[in-house]
């Protein structure tokens, strides 16, 4: 009955607000309590991006911010140069490659494949 009144007057039950606020705050608590995880994620993220562009690893900033109903990850990754052959590489390697975890920036320039459509399938590079 009370729920009906609330709905009629457009009042959101405070328990729903509490649940939503807790969900977000616990997510950011868990993130702030797992710095190693964030470092590992940052590393993986940069490894993926580095296949396409050369980035400045020393100036990467990752932060988390609450945006309305979601927690957003904000990454600021300075790009030094664009790998011209990146598009070629996407086409030349249709099969998935295991993620490179090491710090081997030279790896980016190693392979040179045949020309192909650059319209990317970056999802193949998982």
């Amino acid at each position: 009955m009370i729920e009906l009144f609330n709905r009629l007057f457009g009042r959101r039950p405070s328990s729903a607000t509490a649940k939503e606020r807790l969900r977000l705050v616990l997510m950011s608590d868990h993130l702030s309590l797992a710095p190693e995880m964030i470092e590992a994620m940052k590393r993986d993220l940069v490894d993926v991006i580095s296949k396409y562009v050369e980035v400045d690893r020393s100036k990467i900033e990752v932060s988390f911010e609450q945006q309305d109903a979601a927690l957003a990850m904000l990454a600021n990754i300075p790009i030094l140069s664009v790998n011209r052959d990146a598009g070629d590489r996407v086409a030349s390697r249709p099969s998935a490659r295991p993620p490179a975890l090491g710090k081997q920036p030279s790896k980016r320039r190693r392979k040179k494949g045949s020309a192909g459509p650059a319209a990317g399938k970056p999802a193949a590079a998982t």
Partner: protein
């Protein structure tokens, strides 16, 4: 069954149980070897097999180390089937001491945002230690849950991803019985008694259905609705 008050410096378990006048020795004196552990135990005459080990009131959490705590709990383990350690609030020294000798944890929270956030932190700490835990949601007010003004038990369990051990409704009588130092379960007519008993049976490994706090009939609902409204 032995209850240990691990809240050194803020002794209260004795007061809640009405045993405050009978304390001779305390946990810190046991740890420091000033008395035997048996000498510090206070038998609760109202329950056949219940004793408490009181905390020291004039010392602080640093008076005991984790190793010493493990030693005391092991000694108590030889004297009883269950040793229940009342853990102080917080996640610092007192908490670490309290869980040092434990094999399993019961996290008690209320359905409020601050309590749930703290419970989540405690659950994270327990998980780091690899300690199994179950959750008790205390002071639930079914009429407020129905009207959407209080988080439900399901909400709390979902937010904390924890296994439920018990649901305890908010009851004014707890304040009254605590004032007198008489545990609420001594009153056969009290509605909390069967609820506490169910928790005990679950701890013993029995599968016991949860009491439906909503189940109070039409007039109960109407009364609840009028009160809440």
């Amino acid at each position: 069954m032995i209850l240990v008050d691990a809240d050194i410096g803020l002794r209260n378990l004795d007061l809640v149980l009405g045993l405050e006048k009978r304390i001779v020795f305390d946990l810190v004196e046991v740890v420091e070897g000033r008395c035997q552990v048996r000498q510090a135990l206070i038998k609760d005459k109202r329950f056949e097999s219940l004793s408490i080990l009181p905390a020291a009131q004039t010392r602080d959490k640093d008076a005991v180390t984790e190793e010493q705590m493990v030693g005391v709990i092991e000694l108590l383990g030889d004297l009883a089937d269950y040793v229940l350690i009342d853990c102080p609030a917080g996640i610092e020294r007192g908490f670490r001491n309290a869980i040092a000798g434990a094999t399993e944890a019961i996290v008690v929270t209320t359905p409020e945002v601050s309590a749930i956030r703290d419970a989540d932190r405690v659950i994270g700490k327990l998980a780091q230690q690899g300690m199994p835990m179950r959750l008790i949601v205390n002071r639930i007010r079914p009429e407020m849950v129905r009207s959407g003004d209080m988080l439900s038990v399901d909400d709390v369990c979902e937010i904390l991803s924890a296994e439920l051990l018990g649901i305890i409704p908010d009851d004014e009588e707890v304040i009254d019985t605590t004032n007198r130092g008489e545990p609420v379960v001594l009153d056969d007519a009290n509605r909390l008694k069967p609820i506490y008993e169910k928790i005990v049976r679950r701890l013993e490994g029995e599968i016991v259905p949860f009491t439906n706090l909503d189940n109070q009939g039409f007039f109960g609902r109407l009364l609840g609705a009028l009160k809440a409204g």
